[in-house]
Amino acid sequence: MSYKFDWTVLWSGQSGGWLLDGLSTTVEISFLAWWLAVLLGIGAGALRTAPVAPLRWAATFYVEFFRNVPLLVWMFFWYFAAPPLLPDGMREWLFDHGAEFWAGLCALGVYHGARFSEVMRAGIQAIPKTQFEAALSTGLTVTQTYRLVILPIALRLIIPPATNESLNLLKNSSVALTIGVAELTFQTRQIETYTAKAFEALAAGTVIYLLLCLTIAALMARVERRCAIPGMIVRGGVEGF
């Protein structure tokens, strides 16, 4: 291969600044979308196990509709198809204030919310039915049972799969470059444009994603340890991290 590696392109010129910009956009969009996804996920996940049929149907519709269409299509939907539904003034304002970022945020958050809700449902259904009945028999209402007993336990149970989902969300944020969000992958391409050094730019992106994901995994492992209810969840696998 006649390709000559030149790693200096990563810190000479503007490349370093671009990578930092990209990193901050990636973290920003992922962080906000994560909250949206978690809130939607908890809501829809809980509703899918609710004892009221129409609520279950609504939640099932949300999950199946949003998780079964590719994320890329959702990106285009929120960026191209949703804005014309807004009033003119609002639309212009949005276009002047980073519409692509907010569209990307909605696409990521709503899509991953549907996936989070399945994780949530699995967590709730892992709790024995008797626990639910016991809570009701103490005089709690259904809503209180969910809020005070079921969800706190389920949220602890789902930390490992939720970590998985969170890492996926972070990595999927790169799809937002198709609608022009200048996140990390976008910036690695930018470096390629200016320097024609594709391998170096991609390698830098890879290392940054890897470090980001390892950080999140470590954080979640810590959360899992600190929130564990003694005697309830087997912690064998976590100790070693």
Binding site: M1, F76, Y79, F80, F95, G180, R189, E192, T193, F199
Partner: protein, 285 residues
């Protein structure tokens, strides 16, 4: 243990083979496989695109098939077929350096920084950046885009110039032409900048061409070349001879007419200066 030894032996053998393949020159590779693999575009009419009949065609592709291929077949003494793979501004250099394709024939601008990574053929087309806007737009060129939302194709030389010469413009970069055009059609951006010839192609292919206008003086110089792996001068010579022969014999101008002539896909007459420039690249035999 025995299985491990077999596995290792197989791995070493494969690795050895890969190393051998790397040492092969491009001409040897083409001769061995009887195939010239080119990287080209699917959405850049009329240089390289998929037409209404679902055929992958274009000016750049024709130059490869009608000008370069005959010279290549003669040099190697056998029939060579062309295989096309899609390349984009982000993937074309890696595709080339990783041996996945042998030649990039699309709309790639020859630049000094790109020449650090790949080699280029002669310039086979020259254009410059302009803007595509809705008819009647206040944008008339690069002097009038301050504060405006401008779309560009990511990885293009135009985006870079806008960033340097009009830093107050809000630049939005899209990975491909259809997304950028959609953003323009819907008002996410007020203008889309790309090479003039490509904008003219996009306008001609739009559902209502009369609603769009290509405006502004060229604010960049974009000489298109075909990219090849660095340091493979034998193959580069074949490509260049193919292009030079075609310009000298008039074949180039026939192909040009087919795509850009009055009855072509996109009428875009060759200026006398450009014609002279092309002819002056031809060195004597």
């Amino acid at each position: 243990m025995k299985r491990l030894v077999i596995f290792l032996a197989a791995a070493i053998l494969m690795f050895g083979n890969a190393a051998a393949a790397r040492c092969e020159t491009t001409l040897e590779k083409i001769s061995r496989s009887a195939t010239l693999t080119i990287g080209t575009r699917t959405g850049s009419p009329p240089f390289a695109y998929v037409n209404r009949n679902n055929e992958w065609v274009g000016f750049s592709i024709d130059l490869v098939e009608k000008a370069i291929l005959p010279v290549l077949a003669k040099k190697l003494g056998k029939e060579i077929k062309v295989e096309k793979k899609e390349s984009t501004p982000q993937t074309r250099i890696p595709l080339l350096t990783s041996n996945a394709v042998d030649l990039i024939a699309e709309t790639m601008t020859d630049t000094q920084s790109r020449r650090d990574s790949v080699d280029f053929s002669l310039t086979f087309f020259a254009t410059g950046a302009q803007f595509l806007v809705k008819k009647g737009s206040p944008i008339k060129g690069i002097q009038t885009i301050a504060g405006k939302r401008i779309a560009a194709q990511q990885g293009s030389t135009n985006a870079r110039i806008i960033r340097e010469r009009a830093p107050s413009a809000k630049l939005l970069e899209f990975p491909d032409q259809p997304a950028a055009f959609q953003a323009l059609a819907q008002g996410q951006v007020q203008a889309y900048t790309n090479d003039g010839i490509q904008l003219a192609g996009l306008k001609a292919k739009a559902p209502k061409p009369e609603e769009w206008a290509v405006v502004g003086e060229f604010f960049s110089y974009e000489p298109y070349g075909m990219a090849l792996r660095k340091g493979d001068s034998d193959f580069r010579q074949v490509v260049n001879v193919g292009l030079m022969d075609a310009i000298e014999s008039g074949k180039y101008f026939e192909i040009y007419d087919k795509w850009f002539g009055p009855k072509g896909e996109l009428p875009y007459p060759l200026t006398p200066e450009t014609k002279r420039f092309l002819q002056m690249q031809v060195v004597p035999k």
